[in-house]
């Protein structure tokens, strides 16, 4: 019974974790500029993220250790230091972008400028983290996150030509704007394979006290949950491709994306977009902030856990408090949330080897994992993923310079 609940919740949570500000930005840009031609990038990223999430969950279930914990203890502090520092910067940037997404959603609803919302959003997030337990966070973000299904409903309502969808599912060369095309493709991968997902997911598995009997549950959660999240993202690509692309509207600013649901839902479309974006980013922001706390606490061996009261893990709470403060600065100083998101996605893609390579090495340690260590299929996939992440790391930043509009 508990496992059935875990399964349902896990799937919903991973939907929440999957669809966030990075997906909203990259999917609407992809659809607006290249219609369905970049769906393949989303499919590729989904397959990769399924493998990596499955590995991080399996690792946590068998060893009772989350990833940052295991990496520090396995490879030593000096090895972990550089990835740790890079991932901390990425965490802060992603948190800033997610807060930006929430601020923009509130701006759509209230008409007030984004700066006004930066601190209230940070305080709201902080209260949420301070007061609630891990399962409360899981339940609320996952159920509210279902609102993002409106993108799928809108996509179906628009009846996109199936033939074009299928053609977009296979990689193809762009007829124009190649730099922009590849930049968006890389950004989609960076947005989907967000580093915080793995630290959050494996730490969550430890918080939920998974054991080896959860391996099948973990497998189902990662496959179904990520596929589900991917469907929502593809929905967003399709809607942008149907509504924005034919009108020649590109998404250089979130205001341009906000118009995409009003054709399918004449009276609710505008509010639905705002609410979807707000909730998706709010849920993701909570996960990013927690992931940051998990990473710090595990790196230094502090007491950690969202189920503990704050006076039992003061340093854990200090980390997310500081992260939220720094993360809200980006909006406070008036940075454009879309630009912040796109820079962050490119950097995130560049940092992927630091996530993928230690994970691949850990998953092959038979002293730790015994029979649950990676088999041949997982390892071929993992090796391919490492190659892919290395390529992305090399091309992402130059592409951001040339292809980022």
């Amino acid at each position: 019974m508990k496992k059935a609940m875990t399964l349902a919740l896990g799937i919903l949570t991973s939907v929440g974790g999957f669809f966030d500000v990075g997906n909203i930005a990259t999917c609407t840009q992809a659809g607006a500029r290249f219609r369905f031609q970049l769906i393949w990038a989303m499919l590729l990223a989904t397959i990769v993220v399924i493998f990596l999430i499955e590995m991080s969950g399996r690792f946590a279930a068998v060893t009772n250790k989350a990833l940052p914990d295991a990496i520090r203890e396995h490879f030593g502090f000096t090895f972990w230091l550089v990835p740790f520092a890079i991932l901390t910067v990425i965490h802060i940037l992603v948190l800033g972008a997610e807060i930006g997404g929430v601020c923009f959603a509130l701006h759509l609803v209230t008409g007030l400028p984004l700066q006004v919302w930066a601190l209230p959003v940070a305080v709201l997030l902080w209260l949420f983290l301070w007061r609630s337990t891990f399962s409360a966070i899981e339940n609320s973000t996952s159920l509210l996150g279902l609102i993002t299904l409106c993108f799928v409903v809108a996509a179906v309502w628009h009846r996109p030509p199936l033939h074009d969808l299928l053609r977009g599912s296979l990689p193809s060369l762009p007829s124009q704007h190649p730099a922009n095309y590849w930049f968006i493709a890389v950004s989609i991968v960076g947005a989907v394979i967000a580093p915080y997902l793995f630290y959050f997911y494996s730490s969550g598995a430890v918080e939920d006290e998974w054991d080896a009997s959860y391996i099948p549950v973990n497998r189902a959660v990662s496959v179904i949950g990520m596929a589900f999240g991917s469907v929502i993202s593809i929905g967003a690509i399709i809607v942008a491709g149907v509504v924005l692309a034919p009108r020649g509207i590109h998404v250089d600013d979130y205001h341009q994306a906000a118009l995409m649901l009003t054709s399918a839902f004449p009276f609710w479309g505008y509010v639905l977009f705002a609410v979807s974006m707000g909730i998706a980013c709010l849920g993701a922001a909570v996960e990013v902030a927690l992931s940051m706390s998990y990473t710090f606490a595990q790196t230094f061996g502090w007491n950690w856990g969202e189920d503990l009261a704050p006076d039992e893990d003061a340093r854990f709470c200090l980390v997310y408090t500081a992260a939220l403060l720094v993360g809200s600065l980006f909006m406070l100083v008036g940075m454009d949330p879309l630009q912040l998101t796109m820079i962050t996605m490119a950097l995130s893609a560049a940092a992927l080897p630091f996530v993928a390579i230690p994970m691949l090495l850990l998953m092959n340690d038979r002293k730790l994992l015994h029979d649950a260590a990676n088999g041949a299929i997982s390892n071929v996939a993992a090796a391919a993923i490492v190659v892919l992440t290395l390529v992305l790391a090399v091309v992402s930043i130059p592409l951001a310079v040339v292809g980022g509009s």
Partner: protein, 109 residues
């Protein structure tokens, strides 16, 4: 001061590429913003977006258009300013006219 020929050429090529890349994207962006203004006006007329949203979109469009050297930019900015005044007056007829003007501006890009 000495400068090798090859080095000069490489720099020049790089600069040209950069200019080409930038000017293309800005012309593109300008056209996209004109289309955005048209669509926003249509949605406002249909009662699907609030007035505050149209104002914010016009602000963003104006900021982006100001940065581009696209030939369409000055006319688009002027029309955007008119639209701002029209929605403030709740002048539907004027907004409908401006939507048409944006449509023809977009067609010209």
């Amino acid at each position: 001061m000495q400068c090798t020929n090859a080095g000069m050429r490489r720099h020049l090529l790089f600069a040209l590429l950069l200019i080409a890349a930038c000017s293309r994207t800005t012309a593109d962006q300008a056209s996209s913003w004109v289309a955005t203004l048209q669509f926003t006006g249509e949605q406002w007329l249909a009662g699907r977006v609030p007035t505050s949203f149209v104002r914010a979109t016009i602000d963003s469009a104006d900021r982006a258009l100001q940065k581009t050297k696209a030939p369409v930019a000055p006319a688009a900015r002027a029309a955007a300013e008119e639209m701002r005044q029209a929605i403030d007056r709740n002048d539907r007829a004027a907004v409908a006219r401006l939507v048409k003007r944006f449509a023809s501006l977009h067609a010209s890009t």
